[in-house]
């Protein structure tokens, strides 16, 4: 990637809400409220004057019909001037990583100095739709001129019209659900159940440790829950410090009850949460007195045929980003792999280590072998949770902070996404 000299995009700070399993503590909170909370607290935490922000970019995968552009609602927080342009984007599970990438582009191009990037998802707040028949009847009724005409319209309602339509996490192109894809990958790539459960166990153990020692909680703005707002939520509620291989292996497979290996335990849960990242031009950050955590070095996005292995996008994206950054796997001091499913993580790792794959891509050798001592060091999406739109920003922050703590020069992010997409990003220190 050709970066004009002097323009680098710095990760200055990141903050998120606690991630909560859907239907739990954030059940009654609209996604927009989570997004605004994360953004506002990030602004305060950074002690930044809202007038400094040039743009707001926010990711969301399942937007509310009532708030189609959540980014604008964030930029209309009263802490900001009302004149900050904002857009929402959808790169599926990589949405807020894409928001950070877009922020990088705007800054590098010189179109912005300060961008607030982030993402949100509330899977407690998904739109439930009427059936097409019911929708037609309601629209006709709203156009009816008299009460009699309106009643006549309603008289058309049949029981089947009353069945609501909930959006499924399924591929429109294949009809296959995300879980079925993960199950298929486990089988095609011969990923044993035991290895998947070990991935899950490590995710929980590391996230629990990072919660106890404060590395994760430092990235969380407490949420004031409860009717009286006096039940503060300060950490993620999906992390199980007490889980074990025994407990995980006792779980029944969900997507293929007879031959399957993908369970609720080795998959990321449906989650509510929001995360934000403050991205600034290097000079601007320094002028405002910030010590940047890291810089965006490069990013890459790729897509595979969804009918093949839906979550193998990183197989292409990761070698691509390394090439763009002019780095090799060995240069990486930290790696963050998004854990949609343990079977997907293991499939990604398998392909990166594969000579055959390297040959297919025309690489000199395999992308690299994962070293777990520097990979997902404070847990991943299986334990922490996966609010689709917010995960990318969560990972960017977690990686940037850990790179600072360990004084690591290069860190990699790999995220698989719906539609066969994969996104990878490299952060660098100093």
């Amino acid at each position: 990637m050709d970066v004009p000299p002097g323009r680098r995009a710095a990760i200055v700070a990141g903050l998120r809400t606690p991630f909560a399993r859907s239907g739990t503590v954030l059940r009654d909170v609209p996604a927009v409220a989570l997004a605004r909370h994360a953004a506002r607290e990030l602004l305060y935490r950074a002690e930044l004057d809202g007038r400094e922000v040039d743009q707001v970019i926010w990711g969301q995968v399942v937007p509310s019909v009532l708030v189609p552009n959540v980014a604008r609602e964030v930029s209309l927080l009263p802490q900001f001037p009302r004149t900050i342009p904002a857009y929402s984007l959808n790169r599926a599970c990589a949405s807020s990583a894409q928001a950070v990438a877009d922020a990088h582009d705007q800054i590098v191009q010189g179109f912005a100095d300060v961008v607030l990037a982030g993402g949100v998802e509330s899977l407690s707040d998904v739109p439930i739709l009427h059936s097409r028949g019911m929708t037609r009847i309601l629209m006709d009724a709203s156009k009816a001129k008299s009460l009699a005409a309106r009643l006549a319209t309603f008289a058309r309602i049949r029981p089947k019209d009353l069945i609501p339509v909930a959006p499924a996490i399924a591929e429109p192109s294949t009809g296959e659900s995300m879980g079925q894809s993960a199950e298929k990958m486990a089988k095609e790539n011969a990923i044993p159940r035991r290895e998947q459960d070990e991935i899950a166990l490590r995710s929980h153990q590391r996230a629990a440790a990072a919660t106890v020692d404060g590395r994760l909680t430092a990235e969380i703005a407490p949420w004031f829950g409860g009717k009286g707002m006096d039940e503060p939520v300060t950490s993620d509620n999906g992390i199980r410090s007490d889980t074990s291989i025994g407990a995980l292996s006792a779980l029944k497979p969900v997507f293929d009850r007879r031959y399957g290996t993908v369970t609720a335990g080795n998959s990321s849960p449906l989650t509510d949460g929001a995360a934000g990242v403050l991205v600034m031009a290097e000079e601007k950050a320094k002028a405002l007195g910030y010590a940047p955590l890291a810089y965006v070095k490069a990013y890459a996005v790729a897509a595979v045929d969804p009918g093949w292995q839906l979550l193998q996008g990183p197989a292409y994206a990761v070698p691509k980003v390394l090439e763009r950054a002019g780095l090799t796997w060995k240069d990486l001091g930290l790696v963050e792999i998004h854990e949609a499913f343990a079977s997907q993580v293991l499939s990604n790792i398998q392909v990166w280590g594969s000579k055959a794959w390297a040959d297919r891509l025309g690489l000199k050798g395999p992308v690299g072998d994962v070293d777990w001592s520097i990979t997902n060091v404070s847990g991943g999406s299986i334990a922490i949770g996966h609010p689709f739109g917010a995960t990318g920003a969560r990972i960017v922050t977690q990686l940037a902070n850990e790179m600072t703590r360990r004084n690591v020069q290069f860190g990699l992010i790999s995220i698989c996404a719906q539609g066969g997409m994969g996104m990878a990003m490299i952060l660098e220190r100093a």
Partner: protein, 707 residues
């Protein structure tokens, strides 16, 4: 310079009122005179088919009559004549041979409203600045230019009483609903809509108004004689309950309105100007008018001698308890600043955010703001358990536990957590500001801001600079207090400041009376009749007996035997009575509401309740306060008699129609006050010893205010 200019839009003449050199239009002498000459000209001009009355001010129609003129009125006849003149002028609009359309944007009050009601048609803007009403009774008078006759005819008896008796101003949307306004439009098309209406009326004759929905009951109450009599009887009862006979304008207004409805407009106008004349020269009206001017002067006052205030955009609030949350919520709703709260633990912070948000919700529930405005205001309130977001605060107000060491500790923390420009304000009622700020590293940026509870309702703020406080800090505290909607009085850093200083002997005396067996309800009733909004026993319950005892102790230590508290608070506290806070005090409480005297308090105090001479009750409490006010004033606690009186009225609820304690001393006469105090001293002890300054004033006949 002329007050009116005439613009033309084809066959419609626009009469544009723009009082030169004034921010708002009033119907002053010049306006009235010009109006009288312009009307016949417009009537005679054949090219003019209709007239539109509009204001040349950007955000004001007509604010009312020129109140300055009232103060010159000497006799009831003079005042009645002024009223009659106003009635006749406005009658000429009603009798004008061509349609007259009022185009209203901004305040349309008093005489402005009366003028508008005489027009053929009224168009107003649906803008928050557009308010319509008759506030006259708040000045102890009544609408004197036909308002009492026209309003009930236009919107019905009940709605008219509602506005006139409370001196209310209605927002445009409500006024439209009531029928006070005929068309409601966006400000950008006010003028063209009014012109179009005028032209329409000129060609098609008298207007037809959309009927406002009413029912049989509304018809019976507003339109029939027995119905009106019933409404009037209920209104009289309500007014008496509220004013206890201290404010004559309200009952008189009911009489006048009924006369106009039952005996016809002519009789109504006659009754109106006679009543106006009588009321305008009452002592009550004089005091309320003086208060209006004092209030205006206080708003313009510059206690910082020209120093520039820092514009506060972000407010830090320490302590998320009831007081801190109320300060945050009020700051957000009134001044629209960011309020960042901090308390020791997140539970308390969340609780405080919830309470602060409650003030926004309350305004939404009363429809003072829209849902989206409420959302925006709520988003201004946030907080955490650390000094996060404090760095850029221009002002931090602490409302932590009332303890010197705690306050010093938070001052130190704030100085470390904030930027070099941040001002630290302490909300204390008893601790000297100079002690809190003694070890400050930025002593020029330490000041006291004493709010009164409940902050969203109590109108007063005492600002207390120390010797080291900079003028810029004073200016900022005063200006921010005003943005919070407060009447701001700068007082000296002296124990109790002004309000608690003069309140202490009053409450002490009330405590003694109770300890001597005065019935709780009698004590409160007597002082309500005196004109206080709450009786002293109810006030003690409200403030909380813990706080009252603590404050009483501090004042006793500072001023000695004169302010020795009555011993009963300790007895009550030992019996777990903390006042309304825990639902046990002098009164019984149910769900936080007072429901009657708790008779068991007499046994606790070892007394048999026996009614006492009401005059003794009033004198002991009131004169203790007057005497203390004289002493505090002599010590320079307030900067002027006006400040002292305003602080007393808005901080304690000192009867407004008495003008404040210092004004009252002038009215009663210092010599008489001294005499009463000497009698009280003889009967009840040396705590009533007259203040030396009063004795001096009695001797040389001097006063607080010029006679």
């Amino acid at each position: 310079m002329p007050v009116f200019r005439i613009e033309r839009d084809g066959d419609v003449a626009l009469l544009v009122l723009d009082v030169p050199g004034a921010p708002v239009n009033t119907l002053n002498r010049d306006a009235r005179a010009e109006f009288s000459t312009l009307l016949p000209q417009l009537a005679a001009d054949g090219s003019v088919k209709a007239v539109v009355l509009i204001s040349g001010k950007p955000e004001n129609f007509i604010a009312g009559a020129d109140i300055e003129e009232f103060t010159g009125l000497k006799t009831a006849d003079e005042a009645a004549a002024l009223s009659r003149m106003g009635q006749e002028l406005i009658q000429r609009i009603e009798d004008f041979p061509k349609p007259v359309v009022a185009a209203i944007h901004g305040a349309c009050l008093g005489g402005g409203c009366e003028l508008a009601m005489a027009c053929t048609w009224r168009v107003a803007t649906d803008h928050p600045k557009t308010v319509i009403g008759l506030p006259e009774t708040m000045l102890g008078i009544l609408p004197g230019a036909g308002g009492t006759v026209r309003m009930p005819r236009l919107i019905g008896l009940r709605a008219a009483l509602d506005i006139i008796l409370a001196g209310k101003s209605e927002r445009a949307a409500k006024a439209f609903k009531l029928g006070l306004i005929d068309e409601l439009v966006h400000p950008a098309i006010l003028r063209q809509t009014a012109v179009a209406a005028a032209r329409r009326l000129a060609t098609s004759g008298p207007p037809t108004r959309d009927p406002r929905p009413a029912g049989l009951l509304a018809w019976a109450l507003d339109r029939t004689k027995p119905g009106r009599a019933l409404v009037a009887r209920m209104a009289r009862k309500a007014v008496l309950k509220k004013t206890l006979g201290n404010y004559p304008a309200q009952p008189r207004a009911i009489d006048v309105i009924l006369t106009g409805l039952n005996q016809g407009p002519a009789a109504g106008y006659r009754a109106e100007h006679v009543a106006f004349g009588d009321l305008a020269v009452t002592d009550v009206s004089r005091k309320l008018v003086a208060l209006f001017f004092a209030d205006t002067a206080l708003k313009k006052d510059d206690p910082a001698n020209g120093a520039q205030a820092i514009l506060v955009r972000r407010l830090g609030v320490l302590g998320a308890g009831f007081m801190g949350a109320s300060i945050a919520g009020t700051a957000v709703t009134q001044a629209e600043v960011e309020a960042r709260m901090k308390d020791a633990d997140l539970k308390a912070v969340g609780h405080g955010i919830k309470a602060a948000t409650g003030i926004v919700d309350g305004r939404l529930a009363r429809r003072r703001i829209t849902r989206s405005e409420a959302d925006r205001l709520r988003a201004l309130i946030s907080g955490s358990e650390q000094y996060v977001g404090f760095r850029n605060c221009e002002l931090v107000i602490e409302a932590v536990y009332e303890d010197l060491e705690v306050k010093r500790k938070v001052l130190k923390e704030v100085e470390e957590a904030t930027g070099p420009h941040t001002i630290f304000a302490t909300n204390t009622s008893t601790i000297p500001i100079s002690l809190i700020g003694a070890q400050a590293t930025r002593p020029t940026q330490v000041i006291g801001m004493h709010f009164f509870s409940p902050v969203d309702k109590m109108p007063l703020l005492e600002v207390i600079p120390t010797d080291r406080t900079s003028a810029e800090t004073i200016a900022t505290a005063v200006s921010f207090g005003r943005r919070m909607g407060k009447k701001v009085v700068v007082v000296k850093d002296h124990p109790g400041f002004w309000v608690n200083r003069i309140l202490t002997p009053y409450l002490n005396e009330a405590g003694r009376l109770l300890a001597e067996g005065t019935p709780v309800d009698q004590l409160d009733r007597v002082l309500l009749k005196t004109g206080f909004p709450v009786g002293p026993a109810a006030l003690l319950d409200e403030v909380g007996l813990v706080v009252a005892q603590k404050a009483g102790k501090v004042m006793h230590e500072a001023f000695g035997a004169r302010l020795e508290p009555a011993p009963l608070l300790g007895t009550l506290l030992a019996d777990q009575r903390q006042g309304r806070k825990n639902g046990r005090g002098f009164y019984h409480y149910h769900d936080g509401h007072k429901i009657g005297v708790d008779d068991s308090v007499y046994d606790l105090l070892g007394v048999h309740p026996k009614p006492r001479d009401p005059k003794e009750i009033e004198q002991r409490c009131l004169y203790a306060m007057l005497n203390e006010a004289a002493m505090a004033f002599a010590e320079g606690v307030v900067r002027s008699p006006r400040d002292g009186d305003m602080a007393s009225i808005f901080g304690i609820g000192f009867p407004p129609f008495r003008g404040g304690p210092l004004r009252m001393i002038d009215d009663v006469g210092a010599a008489n006050v001294v005499k009463t105090l000497e009698e009280l001293t003889a009967k009840f002890g040396p705590r009533f010893t007259p203040a030396p300054s009063l004795v001096q004033m009695a001797k040389d006949g001097s006063r607080y205010y010029p006679a």
